[in-house]
């Protein structure tokens, strides 16, 4: 059962990295810059990914799952806020839709799924027997960890370029630091 928990943690890090990369694709190829609430949702995703990555790197711990669940709550709150901003008919929406739902709606679904996954994984008590340790991590753990670091770094650079050192505009149309 512990092996299943570890595999699911690796899959969760890969899935979250994939979601962040897909958001990047939409940002760079489709030219839709993320709004401030979208960026808060990305922060929630990164935080949740960090909790799973800690499980992969050091072994499972309840506090790592706490990182996942609290991050999912923060990201979910931002997604809910954005859904409520546009829930009244004729108040518009932000960004384009994917399979009929906007990205903030998908984000809420993903955050609920992440919190549910963390809750379910907490039932696998066998994974906590060994405790956390700093042994030489496996190649898979190293690869997943470094992939996650690169994705987070790319998000930080992108946000710095888009918002500069201040607050982001509500409807960003250009990168603040690249403006001539």
């Amino acid at each position: 059962m512990a092996a299943i928990a570890k595999a699911l943690n690796i899959l969760a890090v890969l899935g979250i990295s994939g979601a962040l990369l897909f958001a990047f694709y939409w940002q760079l190829v489709r030219g839709e810059l993320p709004c401030p609430l979208c960026l808060v949702q990305r922060l929630g995703l990164i935080g949740a990914g960090l909790g799973f990555a800690l499980n992969v790197r050091f072994g499972s711990s309840e506090s790592h799952y706490g990182v996942v669940i609290i991050s999912a709550l923060v990201g979910g709150a931002a997604a809910t806020r954005q859904i409520l901003l546009h829930i009244v008919p004729d108040t518009g929406s932000y960004g384009s839709a994917l399979y009929g739902w906007h990205f903030y709606t998908w984000a809420l679904v993903v955050f609920v799924a992440i919190a549910a996954l963390a809750g379910l994984l907490l039932f696998i008590e066998a994974q906590f027997v060994e405790g956390t340790h700093d042994l030489r991590p496996s190649m898979a753990a190293q690869a997943v960890g470094w992939l996650f670091v690169v994705v987070v770094l790319a998000n930080a650079v992108s946000t710095l370029l888009e918002c500069g050192f201040g607050a982001c505009p509500d409807n960003p149309t250009e990168y603040e630091l690249l403006r001539k």
Binding site: I46, G47, W146, V149, V152, L160
Partner: protein
């Protein structure tokens, strides 16, 4: 200001690769506090929606 929690989370993601587990959790907590502050600031700003 918006980029700050991202930069902090880069550190939180990087330090576990160097073997620091508790530091990562503490740095994550700082990033989440900054994120909550940003979210709170946004939520308490009056809306400009014309109904």
């Amino acid at each position: 200001m918006m980029a700050l929690p991202f930069v902090v989370l880069v550190i939180a993601a990087l330090v576990p690769m160097l073997g620091f587990r508790k530091t990562s959790v503490i740095v994550w907590a700082v990033a989440m506090a900054a994120t909550l502050w940003i979210l709170w600031s946004h939520a308490t700003t009056p809306l400009k929606i014309v109904l």
